[in-house]
């Protein structure tokens, strides 16, 4: 029986090994100076260009999404731990944040499309910042859930001691609770960023797929997952090769974020 279960575990890990193997084998071949410094140029024959705009687009949109999702997410978690531990309102918020974690990413993209793209807010239809908002909706419940767990681990005695010394509530939160929970909060946020960086579906009809590099978040913007998705459907070898290289880049980014998150978690003074 032990060996059957061990074999099942081995079977479960075979895809991981195979994916990493092929990513490295086929992806490294596509990596060269041009890959990182030129934009995709839509040529079907000849040189298809690199993925510079995709990498920059991902960095820009995920960056903006983080700036939205992390403060809001931690804020909601703070509400849940400081004021919402009992009572119907806190339970309702907690419940619906949990519900949000199960929503498929494409539904978030659909929602942003209906509300922001169709009505043409901010000028154009598709825009980088709208894609970022879709990503932040995706990341928000992840940040909130993990932040709530960490904030609950801060001993109440710490909070009470600060209050007993006469500190106002906001001071207790700012100077006692948040600094104690900081490594855990950072870990949760990094994991949410890793999740957001890999999502394609929400970006398909909010930021769309473009080729040129743009630093203007008010225009359409490329992104690594979207670029990979576009290249996979092509029949041309060099485009497929570029897709593998882009996939390796994306997985490496996510892996680095995840490893960094775990290292930060180890420095936590809490459980």
């Amino acid at each position: 029986m032990r060996w059957t279960l061990a074999a099942a575990t081995g079977v479960a890990l075979v895809p991981l090994v195979l994916i990493l193997w092929y990513l490295i084998k086929k992806g490294i071949g596509a990596w060269n100076a041009d890959f990182f410094t030129t934009d995709p140029n839509g040529n079907f024959l000849g040189d298809p260009g690199g993925v510079k705009s995709a990498i920059l687009g991902t960095l820009e949109m995920v960056g903006l999404a983080t700036l939205i999702a992390v403060p809001v997410g931690i804020g909601v978690a703070l509400y849940l731990t400081e004021y919402g531990r009992a009572g119907w309102f806190g339970s309702a918020v907690r419940y619906f944040v949990d519900v949000m974690t199960g929503v498929p990413s494409i539904v978030f993209g659909l929602f942003i499309y209906i509300t922001l793209v169709v009505s043409g807010i901010g000028g154009s239809g598709f825009a980088g910042w709208k894609g970022a908002v879709a990503l932040s909706l995706l990341m928000l419940p992840v940040v909130t859930r993990s932040a709530e767990v960490v904030l609950l681990l801060v001993p109440d005695s710490l909070r009470e001691a600060a209050l007993a010394l006469g500190a106002p509530r906001w001071r207790v939160v700012l100077r006692v609770v948040l600094p104690t929970a900081l490594p855990g909060l950072v870990t949760g946020s990094l994991l949410a960023i890793a999740r957001g960086a890999g999502e394609t579906a929400p970006l398909l009809f909010t930021a769309a797929i473009v080729q040129g590099t743009s630093f203007n978040l008010g225009e359409r913007m490329n992104s690594l997952p979207a670029q990979i998705f576009a290249d996979v459907g092509q029949a041309q070898d060099r485009l497929v090769g570029r897709a593998w290289g882009a996939a390796l880049t994306l997985v490496l980014m996510i892996l680095l974020l995840t490893i960094f998150a775990r290292l930060v978690a180890r420095r936590s003074r809490l459980a």
Binding site: G102, V103, I106, L110
Partner: protein
């Protein structure tokens, strides 16, 4: 002051979700008016060129691939969880846990890429052999195209494995030590102890974990789009091509931008998808909470637990 600020923020989130639902419903109302609620969801006819939108092939495709994913993924995930918590050498526990969680870190588009260029060509001969040898079975037989229901389901199984495994591990960790020791003291072998003390206790939790995996499988878009073949019909056998709710939205949204009824139909499909995942997740949470039997908050924030 802080209190009102934070309360306002939390209330804003609730309002956002409500707005979400209302907007989706209103935008899809055009399609539901034309075809009726049941007409849209259960008619087998998704024909864009004739402006006919019955979502049954999409629903069936979604359910078939998710069923395949559960059938393959859940047993392996439970076996993995059992092995890691009970049977493997202590020093392997950490590395194995990390490796299973790494499966969750791979983005779905990379799964799709790998599936299309590695899994499909490598498995096609085996699928063809299976289809030929077992064609007496219902739903088996015929020619095997590259992307099909089965291979989409297989990739989904790999993708839900980390979630199901992580939650199962959590649930199994709540089994009281006394139960396990009592079984062993009565002379049970390791496997008998698992079978009589751990598995019955964890049954509700494992069901919940499986349903969370189901919710993930239903909503997965990109990997399925690349691997299901995108044929808006109901396939006759397990290796046929099909379509899914999420895939149709991803594929057809570009061309639907200027066609109001098509767009409304796609949004309606999105609403059906949303409601489906909502129901599955609600049921899942109920099961998992029953399996945890008491307050036991998740001990660590993980990317997997979403």
């Amino acid at each position: 002051m802080l209190r009102w600020g934070l309360t306002g923020l939390a209330a804003a989130i609730l309002a956002l979700i409500a707005y979400f639902f209302i907007k989706l419903t209103s935008e899809s109302s055009m399609a539901f008016e034309r075809f009726g609620l049941f007409g849209f969801t259960f008619t087998n006819d998704w024909d864009v060129s004739r402006d006919l939108y019955g979502a049954l092939p999409l629903l069936v495709g979604t359910l078939i691939t998710s069923a395949v994913a559960l059938l393959i993924g859940v047993p392996i995930a439970v076996a993995t969880a059992l092995y890691i918590t009970e049977l493997c050498p202590r020093r392997l526990r950490g590395p194995l846990t990390i490796m299973v969680e790494l499966l969750a870190a791979v983005p779905s588009v990379v799964y799709g890429l790998w599936g299309v260029f590695v899994l499909v060509p490598k498995l096609r001969p085996a699928e063809q052999w299976f289809s030929d040898t077992f064609s007496f079975l219902p739903f088996v037989g015929g020619n095997v195209p590259g992307p099909n229901y089965f291979i989409a389901g297989l990739i989904l199984a790999i993708m839900i494995l980390p979630i199901v495994s992580a939650i199962t591990r959590e649930v199994m960790a709540t089994v009281p030590q006394d139960h396990k020791e009592a079984a062993l003291a009565l002379g049970a072998t390791r496997w008998e102890m698992i079978r009589t003390a751990i598995l019955p206790y964890s049954r509700a939790g494992i069901t919940g974990a499986a349903m969370l995996g189901l919710g993930r499988a239903i909503g997965e878009t990109i990997a399925v789009t690349l691997l299901i073949g995108n044929a808006p019909t109901i396939g006759k056998q397990i290796f046929d091509q099909g379509y899914s709710l999420a895939a149709v939205i991803a594929n057809e949204f570009g061309e639907a931008a200027n066609d109001p009824i098509h767009k409304s139909a796609l949004i309606a499909a999105g609403l059906v998808l949303f409601v489906l995942t909502l129901l599955v997740n609600l049921a899942a949470r109920w099961f998992v909470n029953r399996g945890r039997r008491g307050k036991r908050a998740a001990a660590e924030p993980t990317a997997v637990a979403v």
